[in-house]
C-alpha cells in the first residue's frame, strides 16, 4: 500500500496531539476511517465548534463561551477570596476538590524566562488591579509546586504584599493516603517544618 495522501495527512495531523506518537497516530487513523466514521465526523465538528465558541473570560481568563464565565458571574461564590492558578485544568482540579468557594484568576501560564514567558504574558498587571479592587480580601496562590510555579508564586507575592493584600499559598505536605516510606525527602522535610 502506497499510503493515500489524505490518510497520511490524517496521521500527520494526529501526531501533533500531545502523547500521540507515530504508531498511535496510525492506529487512531485506521480506527477512525475503518470503524468509527460517525465518531470521526463528530470529532471534526467538535474541534470546529470549540475553536469557534471558546474565548477567554474577561475577568479570570479561563475558557468560556460567554464574555464572563459562569463561575465569575455566579452569585454563590465568595468574591473576597481569589485563587490564582496556572491553567483551566488546575482550576478544574480545585473545583473537583470542593474545598474552595471563591473566585479564580487563571494565569494561562507560568513565569518561565527560558520559554520567553515573563510577567506580561501571564496577565500580572490585570491580577494586581483585580486583587486591589477593594473586594478581594485574600489571594490564594495555587500555582504548581514546581520551580516555575514557585517562582511565579514568589513574584505575585512580591507584587501584592506591598499593596497590603493578604497572600496565602496552598499547604505543602504528605499527600493523603500515602506511605511515608515512599514520599520524597523534600516533601517530608517540608511537612516536618510546617507541622501543626
Amino acid at each position: 500500500m502506497t499510503t493515500p495522501v489524505s490518510f497520511k495527512t490524517l496521521i500527520d495531523a494526529l501526531k501533533v496531539l500531545p502523547g500521540i506518537g507515530p504508531r498511535a497516530a496510525q492506529r487512531i487513523a485506521f480506527d477512525l476511517v475503518q470503524h468509527k466514521r460517525d465518531s470521526a465526523i463528530g470529532l471534526a465538528r467538535a474541534i470546529e465548534g470549540a475553536l469557534e465558541k471558546l474565548r477567554s473570560c474577561e475577568r479570570c481568563n479561563t475558557l468560556s463561551e460567554t464574555p464572563i464565565c459562569s463561575l465569575c458571574s455566579s452569585k454563590r461564590r465568595d468574591p473576597a477570596l481569589l485563587c490564582v492558578v496556572e491553567t483551566p485544568a488546575d482550576q478544574i482540579t480545585l473545583e473537583q476538590s470542593g474545598a474552595f468557594s471563591g473566585l479564580y484568576f487563571v494565569l494561562m501560564g507560568r513565569i518561565s524566562p527560558l520559554d520567553g514567558v515573563g510577567p506580561a504574558q501571564i496577565h500580572l498587571e490585570k491580577l494586581v488591579n483585580r486583587a486591589t479592587d477593594g473586594t478581594v480580601k485574600e489571594v490564594i496562590l495555587a500555582t504548581n509546586f514546581t520551580n516555575e510555579g514557585e517562582v511565579t508564586a514568589h513574584v505575585i507575592t512580591e507584587l501584592l504584599q506591598p499593596q497590603g493584600v493578604k497572600v496565602s499559598r496552598l499547604a505543602r505536605g504528605i499527600p493523603i493516603g500515602s506511605e511515608l516510606e515512599y514520599v520524597d525527602a523534600a516533601t517530608v522535610a517540608q511537612a516536618v517544618r510546617e507541622r501543626r
Copy 2:
C-alpha cells in the same frame, strides 16, 4: 469553571479515540484550544478530507483514493503472488519489510464468531474468485498469529487447497534479535518443530 459545553463536547469526542482516556482527552483538548489552534483546524480538515476521499480498493479492499489502489495498479508487482492480510496496517508492516513483491488481498477483519464476523464479512468469496483467476500461483497467508488469525488462515486454506491453489503461511519462530530466555515457550516449541 463550569466546563463550557463546546469544550466538554470536544473532550467527549476525543475519548472515542483508541487509547485515549478521560485525562488524556482533557489534556489534548486544552492543548488544542489554548496552544495549537492552527493544528486543531488542520486536524478537523484532515479528518473530513480522509472521510471524503478514502474508499476501498475494488481489487484488494485496502484504503484508497482511487477505485483501484496504486499498489494493485503497479506494473512492478508480481501478480502471481497474493498475500492475504487482516488489515491495511498489516499490509503497511509487510511493505516496510521490503520482502514481498506480489499483490495483496486485505480481509478488513478476521473470522470471529463472537463478534459476528464470519466468512461473508471478510470477503472470502471475492478472495476465492481472485485466487482462482489463473494469474495467482501462490496465496501467502499473513493473518495474525492469534487464535482468530489462525482460524481465519485455516478456513482460507480449506477453501483454496481443494481448488488446487498453492497456499503458504508466514514462518513462525524466534524473532530476530531476541534472547531465547525471554521468548515464550510456545514460540520456542514451534521453532524447534520447524527447525531447518
